[in-house]
Amino acid sequence: MFNIWRLLFLLLLVPPAFAQEDAPYFVTYDHHLEEPGNLELEMNTTTGVPRKGQRAYVAPFAELQYGVNRWWTSELYLEGQSTAGDSTLFTGWRLESRFRPLAAEYPINPVLYLEYENVNEASRIQKEIVGKAPLGFEPNSELRQTHAHELEAKLILSSDVRHWNIAENFIVERNLSESEGFEFGYAFATSRRLTQSVSPRPCHFCRENLVAGLEFYGGLGSTQSFGLQQTAHYAAPVLAWALTDKSTLSFSPAVGLTRHSNPVLLRAGYSYEIRGFRNKLRRFFGSH
């Protein structure tokens, strides 16, 4: 059997290569942080195609990602949800920070991720899949009554190997509002630009502006019941198109691999980077 230690050992043997740019993933994080002082605005949606007897939903969320310094990126999420035949509501917010302890590029680059979530049970963005509890499909008016204060940590390992990015996330989450134990999850992904050759002519819809990849993510149960039983897992091709040097469109149809997953999750996103945001803000307010 091909085990994870053998894979990590092989990664250590391969010299790091290319990338520096953001990978196109929706769930998995790689080791590339936001540049210091830059702000990235993102609008994303997760659309859930339901099983029989369930209702479809669209869960939009906004992300504001800010590069505090070269080893720390912080991000605020604001999320909502709209269920067919039910209602539209604000489902909460999340605040996360990512810390990259090693500045230089290594064959495997670790990043620490810490997040606080203040969401209710109607949350549907499915930014990460942990534990084994399936989504509740009660009416939104009931789901919104249950609030969750959660702490989440991830160990992000990411490598740029010969034009490919390979990223592994190991997730542990603790609901501070209920005694569910510690819940676990994972996300693995790989991606690469469709072509490495660069044309001297300007182009928009061309292979050099497209990055494609594949994500796998899912839950691993909890300390109360560790394992794959009753867990949700997804396989998700991802495609990102760099519209300009500041903006990117991304799309990912995730296919549920178990009967506790949604059959399909359609994810779409648009991101725009404001460079030098910190200094622009300082100038706007008249200080240095």
Partner: protein, 155 residues
Amino acid sequence: MNYRPLSITILAFASLACLGIAQTAKPPADKWEAPADAAAKPNPEAKNPDAAAVGRKLYMRTCVGCHEEDGSGKDTGAANLRSPEVQAQSDGALFWKVSNGNTAAGMPSFASLPETDRWDVVTFLRTLKDANGTGAEGSGQGKKDSPQGPKSKGR
């Protein structure tokens, strides 16, 4: 309740945090100069008419986040690539800096980019001009030698 996965997680995080503290405690390199032999290397892409255009695309993909579109770095605090200090350096010296980086000061290494691409980026850097109109043509190209070594020829 099984706390073993949690203990491993905490241990892993603590180890990485220690590494991070050690990393940030490292003083930044205050003298960053290319070795003389690297600075003397001629730019093989200097006569390629497409090099600057390709270099611009690569710059917009990998460098613009810090150095900004005009190379000034005025809003991000990164090095001003249009400044006489930068433009006075030889192509070989700039190539060496792009290739090796200076991570202690925030500049990553781009050694993983193909060598031709790195030379193309250097060729593009020569097209950046300072606000007063100086830049590649105005500041560095005419001088025989920079502190890092002689200029590349044929440009």
